[in-house]
Amino acid sequence: MNLSVLLAVLVSFAGIAAFPACAADTVPVEDIVARASRAAFYAGSDGIADVRMTITDARGRQRQREMRILRKDVEEGGEQKFFVYFTRPADVARTVFMVWKHSGRDDDRWLYLPAMDLVRRISATDKRSQFVGSHFVYEDISGRALEADSHELVSAEGDTYLVKNIPLEKKGVEFAWYHVWIDKATFMPVKAEYHDAAGTLLRRITVQERRDVQGHPTVIRSQAEDLRQGGSTLLEFQDVRYDVGLEDDIFEERYLRRPPVQWVK
C-alpha cells in the first residue's frame, strides 16, 4: 500500500469521525439549550393549565394532587412569575405556592396556607428540594438556570440533540451530570437523565405526550422516575392556554389570600 492511499483512507475516516462535530458547529450548543429552555418554559407571554399530579411510591401506592398553574413572563428567557393554586385533595385546597423566578439571584417563593390564613416566604437557596412531595424538584418545574451548567453536544443524530450538562457548582446538587435529549424540530426537551459521579443513573424525566397548543409545542404528560429508590410522579396537563392576559397584580403577595377568582374558577 503506498502512502497516498493510506493518507486517503485516514482522511476519509477523519471526515466521518468529524461529522457530528460539524453538525454541532452549525447550531452551537449554547443556542440549542437556550432555545430548549424557551420552548419548555417560555411559551407565549403567559399561560395557564390544570395539572394532575399522580405520585406513585416505590411500593406502588398512589396519591393524587390537583392544581392550577398560572405563569407570566416578565422578560422572554428571563424573569418569570408562577402561581400554583391547589384544588385537591380537599384538605389542601386553596393552598398557594408562588414563585418569582429571577436570573442571577435566588428565586422568591411564598406559601399561603389557608387553614392558618398564613403567608410565609420560603427561602429558596436550594432548588433541588422536592416539589410538594413529588419526584419533581423545583428546578424541573421552573427551569434550571442555563448558566448553572457547562453544556456539551454529545450527538445530533436522528431527531434529537443529546446534550451533556455538567454543573459548575457541585455543591447543592445531588447529581454529577445529566443528559438532555432535545427535539430538533421544536427544541422541546423530551428526556433528561441524571447520573452520579460513578455514572449510575439516578433519575429520569420523560415527556410522554406533546401537543401543539396555539402554535406552541406543549407538554401534555411528563413523568419523573426515581431510579434508585423506586417510585415516580406523573404530571398531566389539561386546558392549557397561552396569552390569556394574566394581570401583573395576581402575582403580588397580598393576592395570595384572595386568589384571582376569574383564573382559578
Binding site: 401506592r61 396556607l113 410565609r120 427561602s123
Partner: protein
C-alpha cells in the same frame, strides 16, 4: 441381643474400627455444605404471624435494620460540636454511604437530614442541617442548637449534652451487618483525633455473636475435651485406655454434625452447642465402663472376660441412661422454635449413636489394646480400696446414709422447701447484647450510647384505623390522642424517646407559625395538619414522613427507643401500652400491633420459656415411665426420680436467689439436667438391686455400692464438672452459663444420688425389695400408679404436638387413667383369687 453385638465387636475389632473411620470420613465430607445462621429472629418460624407482620410493616414504612455508630468527644469543651469533629463526622458519613450494602439514601446523620428553620421575618427555610461541615466552632454550636430542637435528631442523632452524635446506618440486608460493621471500623480507624467511636445495634450484636460463637466453638469445645482428658488420665493413668472415650466423643460429634449438615440444616446458635452437649454425655457411659473395667480386670486378668462381665453388668443401666437422655432432648422437638427442634433431635441422635459406639467401639478398642497396658492396673495405688481421697469421701457418705439417714432426709426436705421459694423468684429475661461479657466492645458501645441517647433498642408500635379510607391520622383529635400515649410512655420511664407523625407536625406547624414554641402543638383543624404536612413535603427528604405514616394515613408507626434490650423491659412496654389503650379509648377504633427486633425477641423468648416448661414436664413423665419399666416398681421409679428433682429444683432456685435471668441457654439446659441427673440414680439403684440378689442386708450392699459404683459416679461427676469449668471464662455469656450448669448438674446430682437414695433405703429398706412376683399387675397400688403415668404420657404427646386443645386432652387422660385403674382392679383381683 446385647451378646451378639458384643461378641461381634470383641471378635472383629478391626472391622469395627474401619466402619467407624468410614462413618467419620463420610461425615467430614459434608463439611463444605455447611451453612451458618446466626439470626436470633429464626428462633421464630419464618411464617409466624409476628414475623410476617414485622416484614410487612418494615416494607410498608420503608424501615431497614440499622447499625448505630456513636461518635464521642469528651476532650473538647463543646463536645462533638466543634468544627474539627464535625468535619470528621462529615467525612466519615460520606465514606459510610459508599459501603456496599448500606442504604445511602436512608442513612441518618447530621449531614443527611433536612431542617426547617426561621429565615428572617415571615420566612422559613428548609435546608440540610449540615450539608457542609461548619468552618468555626461557633457555627458548630448553631448546628447543635438546631439539632436539639428537631424531633428526628434529639435523643437519636445528637445527645442533649452535645458530647455524642450518632449515625444510623441502614442495611439493605441484615446478614451484611458484620461485614459492614467491620468496614465502618476500618473507616473510623483512619481518623486521628480525640474522638471515640462505638458501634452497636441489635443486628451487629447478633451477627458478631455468630462470629464469636464459631471462634468459641473452636476454642471451648477442644479445651473442654483437653481438660476432660487430663482428668481421666489422673483417674486411670493409662493414655491408651482413656484415648477410647476421647476418640468416641470426637467421632460422635463429627458424625452427628455431619448428619445435621448433610440433611441441610444450617448451623445455628443452638446447634453450634451440640458438640458441647454431646461431649459429656458421650464420655459418661464410657467412663462407667472404663471404671468398672479397670476394677474388674484385676479380678479376671483377662480382658475378654472382664469386658464381657462389665458389659453384662452395665448393659441395662446404660441403655436406660441413654434412653432417658434421648427422651429429654427429643422432647425439644415439641418446642415451637425451629432451631431448638433441630438441636433437640440431633443431640438425641448423637446420644443414641454414643450408646451404640459404647456398646461396640469401646469393647473393640479394648481388644485391640496391648495387653501389657493392663499389666499395672492392679498395682495402681489409687485403686486400692480405702485409700485415696475419693474413697475417704465415699466413706463419709456411707456413714452418713447408714447412721444419720434421718438427718440427710430432713435436710433434703428443708432444702426443697427453700428451693420452691427460690423458684418463685426466678426472672424470665434475655437480651442478645448481654450474651457478650461486660467488657466486650459491643457491651461497652451499648452502655455508652444508651448513657448519652434516649436508647438504641428500637421497637415499633403500629396503629391502624379500623375504618379505612378516612385518612384518620390527619385528624387533630387522633393526633392529640397519640401525643397522650407518647407522653404516658415517656412518663412511665420505660421508653427513652418516641417519634412519630405528631412530632413532625408539631415541629413544622410551630416553624410555620414563627418558630417561637407558642405553636408547638397539633393544629386545630385537619386542614391545618394537611397543609403543615404539605409544607414538610417540600423539603429534601419528604420520604421521612413515610417512615411514620402510610401514604393513605390509615396506619401510623410510633418509633420507640428503649435504653434496654432486656425482654422483660420490652414486655413491660407492651403491657403498659395495652393498658393505656384500654383505659383511654381512642377517638376512633384502632388496632395496635408491635414490631421491631426488640419485640420479636420477646415473642420468641415467651415461646421458648413456655415451650421448655412443656418439654420439661413431658420429659419428666416419660422418664418416670421408663424408670417404671426398668425397675418394675412405681415406688422404686419414684425413688429414682428424687435426685433429678432435687437437682433441678436446687439449680433453678439458685438462679432465683442469685438473680441470674432465666434466658435462652438456661431454658435449653433444663433438658440436659433431666437427661444427665437421672443417670446416676439409674446406675445406683440398678446396681443396688443386682447386689440385693447376693446380699441380704442393706449394710453390706452399701459397702459394695460405695466402692466400685460409687467411684464410677464420683469420677463421672468430676470429669464432666471440671471438664466444663473452662467454659466459665469464655467471653460469651451463654457458654459461661453452660459451664456453670454442667458443673452444678454433675455436682448436685452426684451428691443427691449418693446421699438421698441410700438414705431412703436405710429409712425404708423394703424399697430395695425385688419387685413383687407377677410384676406390676401384682399390686393394685403399683398398677394404679402405672395407669396414671400412662394417662399423663398420652396427655403429654397430645399436648406437646398440639394434637388437641386442653379440654379433650384432659378428658382423654382421665379416661386412660380410669380404664387403667379398672384393668388393674380386674388383673390384681384375679391374681389374688388364684392365690
Amino acid at each position: 441381643m446385647m451378646h451378639k453385638w458384643l461378641e461381634f465387636a470383641v471378635s472383629h475389632p478391626r472391622q469395627v474400627m474401619v466402619a467407624l473411620a468410614l462413618a467419620v470420613v463420610l461425615a467430614l465430607s459434608q463439611a463444605p455444605r455447611m451453612s451458618v445462621d446466626t439470626d436470633p429472629e429464626n428462633m421464630l418460624p419464618a411464617n409466624s404471624s409476628v414475623r410476617v407482620f414485622d416484614r410487612q410493616m418494615r416494607s410498608d414504612f420503608a424501615l431497614n435494620n440499622m447499625l448505630v455508630l456513636g461518635v464521642v468527644n469528651e476532650a473538647h469543651p463543646q463536645g462533638v460540636f466543634n468544627a474539627e469533629t464535625l468535619a470528621r463526622l462529615h467525612r466519615i458519613t460520606a465514606r459510610i454511604k459508599e459501603i456496599e450494602g448500606v442504604d445511602a439514601y436512608e442513612l441518618l446523620s447530621l449531614s443527611t437530614r433536612d431542617n426547617v428553620v426561621q429565615d428572617g421575618a415571615g420566612a422559613v427555610r428548609f435546608e440540610w442541617l449540615m450539608q457542609e461541615p461548619p468552618a468555626t466552632d461557633e457555627e458548630a454550636l448553631v448546628i447543635l442548637a438546631e439539632a436539639r430542637d428537631h424531633p428526628m435528631f434529639r435523643g437519636s442523632i445528637v445527645s442533649d449534652d452535645g458530647r455524642m452524635v450518632s449515625v444510623y446506618i441502614p442495611l439493605l440486608k441484615k446478614s451484611l451487618s458484620y461485614r459492614i460493621a467491620q468496614d465502618v471500623r476500618r473507616i473510623v480507624a483512619q481518623e486521628t483525633g480525640p474522638e471515640q467511636y462505638h458501634i452497636t445495634g441489635l443486628p451487629v450484636a447478633e451477627d458478631q455473636f455468630g462470629v464469636e460463637m464459631f471462634r468459641q466453638m473452636a476454642v471451648s469445645a477442644p479445651l473442654a475435651g483437653a481438660v476432660i482428658f487430663v482428668l481421666m488420665w489422673l483417674f486411670f493413668r493409662s493414655l491408651a485406655l482413656i484415648a477410647a472415650p476421647m476418640i468416641m466423643a470426637v467421632a460422635t460429634v463429627i458424625i452427628t454434625m455431619g448428619l445435621m449438615i448433610g440433611f441441610g440444616f444450617p448451623v445455628h446458635i443452638m446447634s453450634s452447642m451440640i458438640p458441647i452437649f454431646l461431649m459429656p454425655i458421650t464420655i459418661l457411659d464410657s467412663v462407667h465402663i472404663l471404671s468398672e473395667f479397670s476394677d474388674k480386670y484385676r479380678l479376671f486378668k483377662d480382658r475378654r472376660k472382664a469386658i464381657m462381665h462389665v458389659m453384662g453388668e452395665l448393659f441395662v443401666p446404660m441403655l436406660f441412661t441413654s434412653l432417658t437422655s434421648v427422651a429429654g432432648f427429643f422432647s425439644l422437638s415439641f418446642s415451637p422454635i425451629p432451631p431448638v427442634q433441630v438441636f433437640g433431635v440431633f443431640v438425641a441422635i448423637g446420644i443414641a449413636l454414643a450408646w451404640l459406639l459404647t456398646m461396640v467401639f469401646i469393647p473393640a478398642y479394648i481388644m485391640l489394646m496391648n495387653e501389657k497396658t493392663f499389666a499395672d492396673f492392679g498395682a495402681r495405688p489409687s485403686e486400692e480400696p480405702s485409700s485415696g481421697w475419693m474413697d475417704r469421701v465415699l466413706g463419709v457418705f456411707r456413714a452418713l446414709v447408714l447412721k444419720r439417714y434421718r438427718l440427710v432426709l430432713v435436710l433434703t426436705a428443708l432444702l426443697m422447701a427453700l428451693s420452691v421459694y427460690g423458684l418463685t423468684r426466678i426472672q424470665v429475661n434475655d437480651n442478645p447484647v448481654r450474651w457478650f461479657h461486660a467488657g466486650h466492645p459491643i457491651r461497652v458501645a451499648d452502655k455508652v450510647l444508651n448513657q448519652h441517647f434516649a436508647g438504641t433498642y428500637e421497637a415499633y408500635l403500629v396503629l391502624e384505623a379500623e375504618n379505612k379510607g378516612g385518612e384518620l391520622f390527619k385528624e387533630p383529635q387522633m393526633l392529640r390522642y397519640i401525643q397522650g400515649l407518647q407522653s404516658a410512655l415517656l412518663d412511665s420511664a420505660l421508653v427513652g424517646k418516641t417519634m412519630t407523625l405528631t412530632d413532625l407536625v408539631v415541629k413544622v406547624y410551630d416553624e410555620l407559625m414563627g418558630g417561637d414554641k407558642t405553636h408547638a402543638r397539633i393544629p386545630d383543624t385537619r386542614e391545618a395538619v394537611a397543609q403543615s404536612l404539605l409544607s414538610f413535603e417540600n423539603s429534601h427528604k419528604p420520604d421521612d414522613l413515610w417512615h411514620v405514616v402510610t401514604t393513605d394515613y390509615d396506619r401510623l408507626n410510633i418509633w420507640l427507643q428503649l435504653k434496654s434490650g432486656d425482654n422483660k423491659d420490652m414486655a413491660r412496654v407492651t403491657a403498659f401500652t395495652a393498658r393505656y389503650l384500654l383505659d383511654n379509648p381512642p377517638p376512633a377504633p384502632l388496632q395496635a400491633r408491635w414490631a421491631g427486633k426488640t419485640y420479636l425477641n420477646v415473642v420468641w423468648q415467651d415461646n421458648m420459656v413456655m415451650g421448655m416448661i412443656k418439654n420439661f414436664i413431658g420429659s419428666f413423665v416419660i422418664v418416670f415411665f421408663m424408670m417404671l419399666y426398668l425397675f418394675r416398681s412405681p415406688v422404686t421409679a419414684l425413688v429414682s426420680m428424687v435426685p433429678l428433682t432435687v437437682t433441678i429444683l436446687f439449680i433453678y432456685a439458685l438462679l432465683g436467689f442469685v438473680g441470674k435471668d432465666y434466658d435462652m441457654p438456661v431454658a435449653v439446659l433444663s433438658a440436659l439436667t433431666l437427661g444427665l441427673s437421672v443417670d446416676f440414680a439409674i446406675h445406683f439403684i440398678q446396681r443396688s438391686m443386682e447386689l440385693r440378689k447376693e446380699h441380704a442386708d442393706w449394710n453390706s450392699i452399701a459397702e459394695k455400692m460405695f466402692a466400685g459404683p460409687g467411684r464410677a459416679i464420683v469420677r463421672n461427676a468430676l470429669v464432666v464438672a471440671i471438664g466444663f469449668l473452662p467454659l466459665m471464662v469464655a467471653p460469651l455469656v451463654p457458654y459461661q452459663t453452660v459451664g456453670f450448669f454442667m458443673f452444678a448438674i454433675m455436682a448436685v446430682s452426684a451428691a443427691a444420688t449418693l446421699l438421698i437414695i441410700p438414705a431412703l433405703f436405710s429409712w425404708y429398706p423394703v424399697l430395695l425389695e425385688a419387685p413383687a412376683p407377677g410384676g406390676i399387675a401384682g399390686n393394685r397400688g403399683h398398677c394404679l400408679l402405672t395407669a396414671v403415668a400412662a394417662g399423663l404420657s398420652v396427655a403429654y404427646v397430645m399436648w406437646g404436638y398440639d394434637l388437641a386443645s386442653w379440654k379433650p386432652t384432659v378428658y382423654v387422660t382421665l379416661a386412660v387413667i380410669v380404664a387403667g385403674a379398672f384393668l388393674c382392679h380386674l388383673v390384681s383381683g384375679k391374681t389374688a383369687c388364684r392365690k
